[in-house]
């Protein structure tokens, strides 16, 4: 399995966490990462996103169909993230939140319960069954 964990880009503050939208900077980060992804993704892949607005807006930058997964909302457990991805064949992109994605990465790569840092708008590209390989890590400020 190939799994790309994509943390939502920079978002505005707000009292309703689910409604927080991307800032201008966040929109640029999402667009830059989407451009990089389009250059390297296979033709077929599945794009999953948390229902939070900032994750939806980040995913939308890819310009393809977004499947919203309620289980990817902020606070998602590593097992929930991996389960959501495993429902699909081939390469799956999961747009979600921290510390959730970093915990899923630690679980999938190292079988560890640990908080791995993933920067806003960054992707972690993992492949193979656990222990998965880390194929690429790219953050918007590195593009």
């Amino acid at each position: 399995m190939e799994l790309i964990l994509w943390r939502h880009a920079d978002a505005e503050e707000g009292t309703d966490d689910m409604a927080r939208r991307l800032t201008r900077k966040g929109e640029k980060q999402a667009a830059a990462m989407a451009k990089w992804l389009r250059a390297h993704l296979p033709e077929d892949y599945t794009l999953l996103a948390s229902p939070a607005a900032r994750a939806q807006e980040t995913a939308a930058a890819l310009g393809t169909k977004v499947i919203t997964e309620k289980t990817l909302a902020p606070g998602a457990a590593p097992a929930a993230i991996i389960k959501a991805a495993q429902k699909h064949e081939g390469l799956v992109i999961v747009v979600g939140h921290q510390p959730d994605l970093g915990r899923a990465a630690a679980q999938w790569v190292a079988g560890a319960r640990a908080d791995w840092s993933i920067r806003k708008g960054a992707i972690w590209w993992l492949s193979g069954a656990p222990p998965a390989r880390i194929e690429a890590v790219v953050s918007p400020d590195m593009l």
Binding site: H40, A114, W116, S117, R133, E135, A136, V137, S139, M142
Partner: protein, 150 residues
């Protein structure tokens, strides 16, 4: 500090492992990675290389002074790599050009506290940095890039 661990590009065969040269493909891999790194590294950085020719040739593509460290030769332990780089207290950015599975072992230890070496493709590099957050020392993976993604 910023630490870039860079694996040598593809190399030709040779009876003496330390004298294996980069292949044409390996030179291209190294040049692409170097171009990417030069656009993002600070103006001044430390460049360390294993004494193996394929590592030295990879390091040369950065066009900076190279310090050859015997302790980075094939078979280097994670601790030897960590010590050579001056992790975590060195200032600025340090680029270490060396081999597999040595670099992958050092990364697994630094990032995950794990024993099994992580995979690193030929000519690929990992860029990590350290920081202290809430009193805890953390390792941040800033980039992992292989030449086929450049």
């Amino acid at each position: 500090m910023d630490l870039i661990l860079w694996r040598n590009g593809e190399a030709e065969e040779h009876e003496d492992d330390l004298r294996r040269r980069l292949s044409t493909k390996g030179r291209k891999q190294a040049a692409r990675a170097a171009q990417w790194l030069l656009q993002r590294l600070p103006a001044r950085f430390t460049l360390l290389s294993s004494p193996a020719l394929r590592a030295h040739q990879t390091a040369q593509t950065l066009g900076a002074p190279i310090k050859v460290e015997q302790s980075l030769a094939p078979g280097a332990t994670p601790q030897a790599i960590i010590d050579a780089a001056g992790w975590p207290d060195a200032k600025g950015a340090v680029v270490v050009v060396a081999h597999q599975p040595d670099l992958g072992r050092a990364l697994a230890q630094l990032v995950a506290g794990a024993q099994n070496p992580w995979s690193i493709k030929k000519g690929a590099f990992w860029w990590i940095s350290n920081r202290v957050r809430d009193g805890d020392a953390q390792v941040v993976v800033r980039a992992v890039v292989s030449p086929d993604l450049l």
